[in-house]
């Protein structure tokens, strides 16, 4: 997850509202196709914006399959590998759907895939919650620069970036509008 603030003035939108909606529709169809009907799919969003994306995906999946899709959130703060490099962060909510994740196909949902460290933490967190049949990863944007052997199963948009750039996802639920911004890192 990329949390660096980008000033709106020098940031360029790479995905707008309608693009994001189309991308999510495509990912929903891919999930149904790969999971052969998505019978046992559980969506878990990684706070903050991954949760909203998971909820939107669940709504699309319900449209496609006509079934209720369990959807929750998985906070990874306590599993981060850089805890000792920053002051303690505020915790977010972990909400596992009622039937749990044992024996199910868990699809983790996040906004930006970058170093892969968030996903590694999420895999550790999942371990303490139960034992899924399989775990897959869906992200809105893959910006590259992986530091761990992790890859996404469903990617909204591959966005080749340099390390001097920032990627910021804004979603209506949190930021009032849907957009993905590519900007230059602030030099301070």
């Amino acid at each position: 997850m990329d949390t660096q603030d980008t000033q709106a003035s020098d940031a360029r939108p790479v995905l707008e509202g309608p693009d994001i909606a189309r991308v999510l529709t495509r990912i929903a169809h891919e999930i149904v196709e790969r999971a052969k009907g998505a019978d046992d799919v559980v969506l878990l969003g990684i706070p903050t914006r991954g949760v909203f994306l998971a909820q939107r995906l669940a709504a699309k999946l319900e449209e496609i399959t006509d079934r209720k899709i369990p959807c929750g959130s998985l906070d990874i703060t306590m599993y981060r590998d850089d805890l000792r490099m920053h002051p303690p962060r505020a915790l977010a909510r972990t909400e596992i759907p009622g039937d749990g994740i044992d024996g199910r196909l868990v699809v983790l949902v996040d906004d930006v895939l970058f170093s892969g460290r968030t996903v590694r933490a999420a895999l550790d967190a999942l371990n303490d919650v139960g034992r899924p049949r399989a775990v897959q990863l869906a992200v809105l944007v893959d910006r590259g620069h992986r530091e761990l052997p992790i890859r996404a199963d469903y990617v909204g948009k591959n966005l080749p970036t340099s390390l001097r750039e920032t990627v910021k996802v804004q979603l209506a639920e949190e930021d009032g509008r849907d957009t993905v911004l590519l900007g230059a890192k602030q030099t301070q």
Partner: protein, 325 residues
């Protein structure tokens, strides 16, 4: 850099709310099959108990273990302290072993403060009760219990206790729980009234941010929470009231008095309860009494405090009073 929790009065309103919010998330770990988080892996915490304690020590130990810290338990009985070792030497022994945090309970008021500010050790110091001074994690867990019951679990997130009326009844003179609660509840915006016989009200109470009353019945009817304190016989070498029966008649909580409280109001007790003295069995066993809930909440609060003080590179909780010095 200072990173201690010595007094509830050191916490700002935002700090206190952050601790309560963090505890709310920690509480959810207790509902999981694996009640364990890797957050404090590799940190060593010593529980340094110079005074007897059951629930506080066990609660701290449970919290430390759920966060994967290494725990060393120390009680004064059976240690070198009984051979005459001073606090300073004990502290330096711990420092030499490389501990990251010390949870200390001591009979002398100010012992944790001394430990934190003496330069004897680098570890974070968490006060688990010192003499008749402070017991900050108890006040935090009480505030957490009140927020859950009076505001709501999810509705309470980010909220304080503004406008709630809390009554603290009993042996205020000897109670570190009362002192911590008055400080913290005031910070969180609650209106606090302490009720006690005049002999059990400390000198200087007029400087506390609370009201004082000698009449339980008149304050009960307008309280959102009533906290009963244990009469601390072990600290009473003088007679503070004529007979126990008279005390319990005027300041004890029985079913009849409880019925006069507002319908939503809760009864709290930091434990251990003396049934028949400050609280009757009927009240202690009723749904409105939160004693058992307070114990469960204690683990969540202590996890939150440990995480916020030790979980990162520097503590997330600021300490205005200590950092000035």
């Amino acid at each position: 850099m200072q990173r201690h929790l010595i007094s509830a009065a050191d916490l700002t309103r935002d700090d206190a709310v952050l601790i309560l919010d963090t505890a709310e998330e920690m509480a959810r770990v207790a509902d999981r099959p694996i009640k364990k988080l890797p957050t404090l892996r590799g940190r060593t915490i010593v529980n340094l108990f110079f005074e007897d304690s059951t629930r506080t020590r066990i609660s701290f130990e449970a919290a430390e273990k759920r966060l994967s810290a290494d725990v060393i338990n120390f009680s004064a009985k059976g240690s070198s302290v009984s051979k005459g070792e001073s606090l300073k030497d004990t502290a330096q022994t711990l420092e030499a072993m490389g501990v990251d945090a010390v949870v200390i309970r001591h009979g002398a008021s100010g012992a944790p403060y001394r430990l934190a500010n003496s330069g004897w050790i680098d570890a974070a110091v968490i006060n688990a009760g010192d003499g008749t001074h402070q017991h900050p994690t108890q006040a935090l867990l009480d505030a957490f219990t009140m927020r859950r019951r009076l505001v709501g679990r999810d509705a309470g997130l980010g909220q304080d206790l503004s406008g709630r009326r809390i009554t603290i009844v009993g042996d205020v003179l000897h109670s570190r729980v009362a002192r911590s609660n008055v400080d913290l509840l005031h910070t969180l915006g609650a209106e606090v009234t302490v009720v006690a016989p005049p002999t059990l009200v400390p000198v200087g109470v007029e400087t506390w941010p609370c009201e004082v009353s000698y009449d339980l019945d008149s304050t009960l009817t307008k309280s959102d929470a009533v906290m009963m304190l244990r009469v601390q016989r072990e600290r009473m070498n003088a007679a503070f009231f004529p007979t126990e029966r008279e005390y319990s008649r005027r300041y004890g909580l029985d079913g009849e008095r409880m019925a006069r409280m507002p319908e939503h109001a809760i009864v709290m007790h930091p434990g251990p309860m003396v049934r028949g003295m400050e609280i009757t069995a009927e009240v202690a066993d009723s749904d409105r009494c939160t004693v058992v809930e307070q114990v469960a909440n204690g683990v969540s609060i202590r996890m939150a405090v440990l995480y916020l003080l030790l979980g990162g590179a520097e503590p997330a909780v600021t300490h205005a009073r200590i950092e000035e010095k």
